[in-house]
Each structure stands twice: as C-alpha cells, then as structure tokens.
Amino acid sequence: MADARTADSAQSDLLTRVFAQEVQETPWLDRSSSRAELHDAGLPMPWKGRWQYTDYQALIEDALMLEESKEALQSCDGVEVSHLDQPTSDAETNALNSYESVGEFPLMDVNGLLFRSGTKLDATTQTAHASIIDATGSVDRHLISVAEDAKLRIEESFQSGNRVALCYVRENATLEYELTMPQGEEPGYHCIVVWLEADSTLRLHLASKGSRVRRNDVIVNTIGRNASATLSGGWLVDDRDHLDTQVCMNHRVGNTHSEQSFHGVVDDRARSAFSGFIRIDRDASAAEAHLTNRNIALSPHARAHAQPELEIYTDDVICSHGATTGHLDADSLFMMRSRGIDEDSARTMLTKGFLRQVVHSESGSSLLQL
C-alpha cells in the first residue's frame, strides 16, 4: 500500500507540474481537450498495461524540460502551411487540434499542453509532399489535413523530443507517411494519430532504431466506409537501447480494411516491445484486419516483447493476428554456411533479409543499413 501511495503521489505531483507549465504564449490555440483529458483520466499506473515496458514518467519529465521552439518543416510542395506559433484565426486549426480522446496515451495530451511549435499542413493536390525533420529539444505538434481526392506524401525523421502528428484524411484522399527514426541518445516520444474518412487510404511505413528510451505510438481510426490502412516497417535495436512501438487500429465503421506487418531485430542488451491492438467496433461489420509481427533476438541478453490483441464487437469480420519471437533460422544458416559463407556473414545476410521483407523504402533501408 505504501508503494501504491508513493506512486500515486508521484503521478499527482508530475501532473501538477504539467498543468503548471501549460504553454500560455499561444492563446490562439485551444488546448482544452488535452487539459480535460489529463484532468479526467489522470496518469495511468506506471509499468502496467500500455506502459508495461516504458517509463512514461521519464518521458514526461523530459517533455517538461524541452522549452525550445524549432522549425521542423524542411520543405513542402502542394501544401498550404501555417505555423502554430504564429497567431491564426483559422477555426479549422482548433477543430483539428480538439481531437476526441483515444485513451491510455497521456503523452499525447502532455504534448497538447506543452507544445510550442509546429505546423498545420493542408494538402489539396494529387502530388503534395512534405518533409519534416527532427526538432531535438522541442515539443512540437503537426496538424495534417489531406483534402478530398488529394494525395499527400510525408517523409519524416525523428530522433528525440516529443512530437505528435494528427492526420485527417478526407474522403477518397491518400496519405503516404514514411517515418524514420535514427538511433538517438535522448528520450523520444512520437505519436501519429490518423482519422480515415470514407474511401480514403493510409500507407504508413516506419523504420526505427532505438534510443535510451523511445516510445512510438500509432493510432489509426477508420471513420468512413471503404477506408483502408496498410502499416508496415521494421526496427533494429541494439546496444542498451529501448524501443516500444504501440499500434492501435480502430475499425469504427464497416467495410474497412487494415493490414499490418512489422519485423523487429534486437541485439546486444537492447529491448524492444511491440503491441498491436485491433479493435472492431459493433458497427464495423464486414471489416477485415490482419496483423503480423515477427521478432528475432540476435543475442541471449536481448529482449523482444510482442503482444497482439484483438477486441471484436461484431460477428461479421475477417481478422488474423500473430506474433513470434525467436532466433535466426538454423536451417537457413546451415544452408548458407554449406555454400562456404562464414557464419557471421550468413547471420548478417539473414538479419538483413528478415528486415528487407518489410522495409522497402530507400530511407528505411539506409537507416537499418540493409
């Protein structure tokens, strides 16, 4: 009991400090939904549930120290840009920022109170493109809107700090999102939330290394019929690094489709965690969702945790999910060695091959040295 009280008191203290540091310099931005969510839900129990493997308190402490305001948008084309640290009368900005709660993601709301910089991107053409770079040392937020029938490709690099991207993909629009996360020293929290309207498409691809503490949340909501999401990628975590990737795929309406495929490699004394949660709502009949996550531990001291979860509230669905954690295939290793390839080279080739099955993009391949 004493421990629980201590934990409660520590969380309450942390929350008080977050509220006290709410950024006041941008009165044109409505932060009420983040404030209300944190106020009502509080902080979750540490080392439980979605925070079983990652110290969220360390990530919040880090966010509280990040006070810089940095430009993260490197380039864009076919996109209308507004900067959130500049006064805006755009009502849509606040509408986009006032997302409904997705639960158990307090870091997203901490970001909502503390972000000082960021952009609102409106893509209206078929060939829109934006490049977002790392803004180490800052808490930033990006509001992304892809207009009806438009197509936006985002290439983003993130290393440390605290960043949330809220993406609204309108009817019949397409968002291609490529996220690479080079190895970092400092803690990093990254979160992408996507809402998919009818007939829209999301293709999200991630390639990540680890850092001292790194948490990557991806939350996708299909809110229109025939919306489809393809999520794929891989990670290679080594040294003593940590990477926790959580994907929540929420099928909120029927006739929607999602496909997830992630491969992870852990080496040395590193630790990776993956949780793939698929929820099919009661009104989401004829939804189809598939998830695979395969992990390979190269060292006996490395740890890979994998947790696929399904919550289905209707009968008429097609779902599959599976996660495995193991070592390099002994038969493949033997076969390669029987052709004269030394064991170290064979291991490297097999590891790259394992990641190459899911990491197709150029930037991801170079990040993971494929």
């Binding site: 076969m335 060695r337 029987s338 052709r339 030394d342 091959g353 394992f354 099955q357």
Partner: protein
C-alpha cells in the same frame, strides 16, 4: 586422388546412433550412387559429412581431399570442396538469389587468395548456367527458393553446383519430386559438371535418375550401413527385387 574416404563411420543424431560403420571411398572422376529405403540413414550421412550441428561422429574417420575433417566447420568443409545438394532446398526470404550466389562464389575465391569476382563476369557466368538449366534469369532477382516450384528449387541447387565447382558433390535425393522433364534438366547439369577432376555421389531412392546419369558404383544402404556395392547393374537389381532382398546380402 581420393576426394572422400569414410572408414568405419559411426554417427549419431541427438545421441541416437543412425550410422553403424560405413566404409566408402570416392576418387576423382568417379560417380557413385547410394541407394536405400526410407530411414536407412542416407540423409544423416549427408548432414554428418557437411558438419551440421546435432550430428556427431562417435567412431571412425572422415577424410575430405585427403585431410581429416575433425574440428572443421560447415563452411570450412564447403571451402575444402564439399558441396551438399539438399533434398528439401531451404527458402531464404529477404535474400535474393543473386546476392546469395555472389557472396557464395566470393567466399570460395577469397578462401584461395583470389579477389571477389567482378559483377560483370559473375552475371555472364550465372546467366549462362541459368540458360543451360532452362531457368529464367528473372528468378535471380527473387528471394532464394521462395515461391519456386519443386523443379526450380532443384535446378537452383544444380546452378549453385555448376557455379561453385566443388571437388565433391554429395547430392541428397536431388531427383525427388521432379517430373521427367525437370529430371532430365537436372541430369544434364550433373553430366556437365562431372569431370576427371571431381566426384559425384548421388543419394537416391530410385533407379530412374541413373537412366540419365551413368554411374561407376552403386552402394546399397540399409539400417545405417552399406550392405552391398557393385556397378550400375546393381541399381537394376534393386529395381527388380526391391531393397528387402538385398538387405540380408
């Protein structure tokens, strides 16, 4: 020259004795066939020769190219000149056939002090062999054996054989699962490979591969031992009488 010599070879898999004393000598220029029913230890023999983990020699000796294999790793045996053809070729997702073949040939070249093969020469050579084996060059870009038909997988084994040019090819049921057309292509590859400088051991259930490849010696293996040896005529006897009649020989 003796490429392979087995003297009283006794070997176990997971502490279960499978090979019960095998004597066999393969000289350069010779083609041998080892025939036997299921469970006679043929595949175990292949794996023991290759040095696979879990397969241990408990008595007797193996010499490759005149030197004992004691303590040699799988890759060292391969670089010494042993090639193991797989009964069930392994699929390697994510590794292209091209990349795999290039690293394999370069490993061999580096082991004898040569430089890596330049890519142009490599491509010319691989394309030429592929053509002879009636394999589309498209399959070089695909992942090793992934999505290949049974026949393509076995032809891919022969391609590796022809590219790496080992001293001794030990082909474990390379003929299994092949239709007549594929069998002829595989046999053609083996015939092109064989020369006075190298040796071939065909491990097989059936006589049919021997219709296309002339063998010098046939050995019948039953219960982990060679129970009878002879010339090509012995294979016809097996076909006529089955292994049961020869097992007691």
């Amino acid at each position: 020259m003796k490429l392979l010599e087995l003297r009283g070879l006794v070997a176990s898999v997971d502490e279960k004795q499978i090979l019960n004393g095998i004597d066999l000598t393969v000289n350069a220029g010779e083609v041998h066939a080892i025939m036997g029913p299921n469970g006679s230890g043929k595949s175990t023999l292949s794996n023991v020769l290759a040095g696979r983990d879990g397969y241990s020699v408990t008595q007797g000796e193996i010499e490759l190219m005149g030197a004992p294999v004691n303590g040699m790793s799988v890759e060292e045996r391969a670089l010494t000149g042993l090639f193991l053809g797989f009964q069930h070729p392994i699929e390697i997702p994510g590794v292209t056939n091209m990349e795999f073949l290039k690293v394999a040939i370069d490993s061999h070249r580096i082991s004898i002090g040569e430089e890596e093969m330049n890519t142009r020469d490599f491509m010319v050579q691989v394309r030429d062999i592929s053509k002879r084996l009636e394999l589309s060059t498209e399959f070089l870009k695909r992942f090793v054996n992934v999505g290949f038909s049974g026949g393509e997988k076995k032809r891919n084994e022969i391609l590796q054989l022809m590219l790496l040019r080992p001293r001794l090819a030990f082909l474990d049921e390379t003929d299994s699962g092949l239709d007549v057309d594929a069998l002829q292509v595989v046999a053609k590859g083996i015939n092109e490979f064989r020369s006075d400088d190298n040796g071939v051991v065909l491990v097989t259930h059936y006589q049919r591969l021997l219709n296309y490849v002339n063998v010098d010696f046939v050995h019948i293996m039953v219960n982990g031992a060679i129970v009878k040896s002879g010339d090509a005529q012995l294979a016809h006897e097996v076909e006529a009488q089955g292994y049961a009649g020869l097992g007691e020989a």
